[in-house]
Each structure stands twice: as C-alpha cells, then as structure tokens.
Subunit: 362 residues, 2 copies
C-alpha cells in the first residue's frame, strides 16, 4: 500500500514461491517462537458469542488484567490496535512540531510523524558504538528545540538498550525542554532483567512520557493486533480525545487477557530467549563473512563483511529454502550489507545456521 | 473514553445490573440477529495458526473476495478496522476545510471531522419530512462552499433512504463544486432492493465519491471490526498514504472471507429483514404513545408522544427486564423523546413488544 518495508510478509512470499505459510521459516519478523498454549482455542471458542457484540469501548477487563501484569493502575493504561495505532495516536494527539528521531529504528515512527505533518530530524546511532545511543550527544542535540522524540528500548533493528538511569537522565532533561518522549518497550520482555531497563514503574513521575508495549512480539500474536500504552492519566486523556472507538477487536481482548495470566508462557519464553540468544550468537560467530552485533532483544542485526555474496543473493537463496530474513537496508543509515534475523526455536535456528554455513563457509 | 454515546454497551449494562452478556436483549445496537453460521468456529480453528503471523498488509485475499461480492475491481476496494477507521482515514487523507453534515446522523462523522480540524456546518433533516433529505435545499446549501459532505444511506438513526437517481443528482452537483462525498452504505444490505439504492456500481464515474461498507451490521460481527470502502483507485491511493499498516486483524479476515461466500446467510437475512420489519412496524403502531418513523433499514426511530412516561423512565424499566434500547437524544436535533430500536428475531421482538405494551398501554 505504501513504500515502507517490513518483515513478516509471509503471504507475499508464500504466493511468490507457491509455499504454504505454515512451512515458511520466518526469521524476518521478530516474533516469540515459543508455541502459543493450546488453550487459546478453548478461550476463543468460549468467547465466540462476543463477536456479535461491540467490544467494551473502555476495555475495562483487559485494562484490569494489564494493571495486574504491569503493576500500574488502570487509569494509566490504554489499549490499541497493535502498538502501531498508539504510535499514530500519540503523535496526532500531542501534535508536535519538530521531532528528533534516533536512527536506525522502526520505520513507522517516521511515517507516523510525517503523515501528521511533523518536521523530522535524525540523530544518528553510530556503527562504531554498536549503535548504542550516546547520551551526552543526544542531550546536547535536544537543546536545539524538539518537542517530541521516540526511543525504542531495546532498539529495533539494532538490539541495543538504554538502562533505566540513562533513560531517566534523558527524560529529566527532555522534561525541562518540554519534549515529549515516546518510549517503545515492545521488545523489553525479551531482555533478561526487565526491571533494570523498563520505565513503567516511573510513569507517575513524568508528564512527558508515554510507554508503548505490545502483545505482538512477546506473546507472538501479530495477527490479532494488540498493543497498549502506559502514561500518566492527564496525558492519556489527551489521547482519548483522538482515539477511534472500538479499535481493539474482541478476540484480541479475550486472548490477551488469557495470555497475561498464563504463567507457563512467560517462564518458557524467558528460558528460551536466553538459551537461544546465546546459542545463536555463538553459532553465527562461526560463519564467515558475518559481523554480528550484540543484542538484548530477540533478534540480531548482522552485517555482511569480507564476502563476495551480496545480501540480495543471500536473501534469495534462503527464500528458495523457505527461509526469510529481513533485509535491513530500508532502515535509515543501514546499507545493502545489513540484515536482521529473529531468534527462533532451536530446530529453526539450526536450519538457518546450516544454510548460512552452506552459503557462506563453503 | 470520550463524550460520544453509542448503542451496544452491553458490557457496562451487564456490569451495572449483574447480568450475563448472553442474556441481554440488545435493541440498542443495529446488528443483524440472523444467527452466525456454526461453521465460523471451524473457520477460526482452521486458521488459528495465522494469529502468529502479521496479516497480509495488502489484504489481497479478502479484497479479492470483496471484489466478487460487490462486483467492483480489487483496485477499487480497501479494508479497515471497522468502517470507523475508514471514516477517520478518509477525512485525514482528503483533508477538507469545511464540511456540510446532514443531521441527525451517526455521531462519529462529526467527531472524525472535528478531531481532524474540519469546520462543520449542519444541514437539518426535517421531522415533518420524516427526516428525508430535501435534495433541492441540500444542493442550494452546497453552493455555499463545502469541500466535504457525508451521506448515510439508509440514514442512521432515521432509517430514511435516498434513491440512486437522487444520489447521483447530488454527486454530479458536488463534483462541480469540488465537494467530496463520503457515502455510508453500512446499512444498505438490509434494504429490499439494494440495486435501486447503492452507488457501488457507479464509483468509476466519480472522482469525488468514497463508499463505506461494513461487516459489522449486516454480517453481525461488530466484535471483529471489519469494514471496507469502494472508490476510484486514484482517490484510494490518497488514502493509502495515510492508512496505518495491518489495521485489520487476521481472524476478521478469515471470518469475513467465509461470510462473503456463505449464501444461506444472505437469503435468511433478506427474508428475516422484510418479515420482521413489517411485523414490528405493525406491532409498534398498536402501542400507545409511540410515533414510529418509516424505515428502510434494520432499525426504527421512535418518538414518545402523548404519554406521561419519560424516555429515561422507559429505558430504565426496560433495562430492568434486560432489554436495551438506544436513547437517541445524543443525536443532533433529536430531543429526550426519541429512541431507536434494532429489529431483532421474532422471539426478541415479541419480548420487546410485550414489555412496551405493559409499560405504555396499561
């Protein structure tokens, strides 16, 4: 529909090659591969009568479940049609004039700003710093007068993080400059010590902070479209004035509530993330021609170096083996040597490693 | 979340009275009561693996099914998170300055215009005309310079229609005045002869027409959030520039495709609508204190007249019997004597009539 490229285009690849969606190994979308609990089927069937009714416009039951999950009060929580809706909504409602955007980062930020008529300037994350944001430089740059910025933590596609004290340093300064901060924590549950990184416990301290979260990545349900945001109630009331009614569908509500209370999922995810991240990092290091950036998330940014094979060739050869990777050259500052892979289950990860070795080590 | 009142708030009523949602007779939302086919469960279970993938951003398969259903080419069709998303999107994308809005009509039109900074003026539909839009007056008024108008056909909450030749007269004139027309046909499949009323076969003739449709009302799935619009491809490309990605969830896609091909549903709905509309119209006439307006849709606008009971009292007494009606006083021009009821199945309709008789005839 438009020019922004994203991962996870399984439909178009399936159509192009005549594959079934189920047989594609999709490393291009950063989704938790931890299998969804079988009970989801029962949850949906039990609640199917609800598709004949409008969703609760205030989404009280889902927000109550999120209050328990996050430890934040229900008044500080809103839900959306994926985090994507909330990105667009926050920008529309807060109506900034000029935004500072660290890049490379998720491309919908820029589109959401531009379609809302916001002037966008970029703050480059440096390759030589492994794309970690330099706080001193960033604060210095904020002095130039921006009323909006978006930080993604961990950052997509680089996998880098800012710790809590670093973020609070930015937020305090941003507050003094009347700069709103949209903090995207949609990947934060993949990090090892969420408490060291997340700012959700600090929302009441700030009048310029909106935190984004989603079920999409961590709970692995991109098809259902479910995100949420946390902020102080006064700021959220500004968003309410602009949010479209009934934007979250009932099936997403029921499945979301169920997943928040499903303990086995969180524990399995935690174990899986650590094990497979370590395993894949080591395995990727053994492949010629790859520079692998350190990550705190469930994906790796990788650069092709010292190899004759081009990214387009690599991507095509993998597609022929039903493996999708994410060409990262559509991210600002990244060129045609960068790609991103999600961390998946062991079997899938082994398949990827095997193919990469075949193509790059031989 | 905001001040606009809608029907269908079963969750809040269930909570207020301690009812189960399933036991509420909801006449407040205009949903087709024709039962959804049991096969929907199988459709969802068969496609449940798709919730782990992003939806196809271009929604090719759903738009193809809609092309077959509507007889319009796929390039002329876009889908949305309910018709609501498409109302907001059209206004944002076309960015009008000044809109003329016939009232009373669906209240989200006004909210969508106002939140997008559009100046709104009202064109009153007259009670003495049974709220039918007077074409001559409307065209005269359009001369005053409006770049946007929204027509709802049949109109919610009045049930009135404009026929095809009347609409084309408006569209031709609107075109000469550079006025975009958003034509909301979300209730049109409840009318007896859709072909006499709908403009979907005429979209290629106009460069100022967007037609809204939805699964919400006719296919009775408000909980899934699924709408679509039809227009010429050039106009739709303007919308594409602003539409948020993945706004329709995968379960809605699968169920929507299934329902479009499910012939039994359409036939049963057609039969039901005519039979129950005629039945309910007659039965309502026999109740004291009600003025019932003629309708072409699946709902009646009703006015309390010559009775001591107030609408608030009536509404409360019905709620205590687990029956919801729609207080229509939140619609512009309508006061605290107007309410709207959906046409439901015979058993439910009989229950409503029985209660109304008890409260008003005794």
């Amino acid at each position: 529909m438009d020019e922004i490229i994203h991962g996870g285009n399984v439909d178009s690849i399936a159509q192009k090659y005549g594959y079934k969606i189920e047989e594609i190994l999709d490393f291009s979308a950063n989704i938790n591969p931890n299998p969804l609990p079988e009970e989801i089927k029962d949850v949906i069937l039990k609640n199917i009568y609800r598709i004949s009714h409008y969703p609760d416009r205030e989404y009280i039951s889902l927000r109550t479940a999120l209050a328990t999950y996050t430890g934040c009060p229900i008044e500080s929580i809103r839900v959306g049609n994926g985090a994507t809706e909330l990105i667009y909504l926050a920008i529309k409602a807060l109506n900034p004039k000029k935004a500072l955007l660290p890049v490379p980062s998720f491309s919908e930020y820029e589109r959401a700003l531009l379609t809302n008529g916001v002037q966008v300037e970029y703050f480059p994350l440096r390759e030589e710093d492994d794309f970690k944001l330099n706080i001193t430089d960033f604060l210095e740059r904020l002095k130039k007068g921006y009323d909006f910025t978006i930080l993604c933590n961990p950052n997509n596609p680089t996998g880098q993080i800012l710790e809590k004290d670093e973020l609070m340093q930015i937020l305090d300064y941003a507050s003094s400059q009347n700069t709103y901060v949209l903090l995207d924590e949609t990947f934060i549950e993949f990090t090892e010590e969420v408490e060291k990184i997340s700012l959700i416990r600090e929302i009441s301290k700030y009048d310029n902070l909106i935190i984004l979260r989603a079920f999409t990545k961590y709970f692995g349900i991109p098809g259902l479209r479910l995100g949420y945001c946390l902020s102080n109630p006064i700021l959220l009331k500004k968003l309410d004035l602009y949010q479209e009614p009934w934007s979250v569908n009932t099936i997403a509500v029921c499945v979301g509530e169920f997943l928040l209370g499903y303990k086995g999922y969180k524990e399995a995810s935690k174990k899986w993330t650590k094990t497979e991240r370590d395993f894949l990092y080591k395995a990727l290091q053994e492949i010629n021609g790859l520079k692998v950036y350190p990550t705190w998330a469930n994906f790796f940014l990788i650069k092709l170096e010292n190899t004759k094979i081009t990214l387009t060739e690599l991507q095509k050869m993998l597609e022929e083996r039903k493996i999708l990777i994410r060409n990262a050259s559509s991210f600002k500052l990244l060129n045609e040597t960068f790609f991103r892979i999600a961390i998946k289950d062991r079997t899938s990860n082994l398949s990827l490693i095997k193919e990469l070795k075949r193509l790059l080590n031989d």
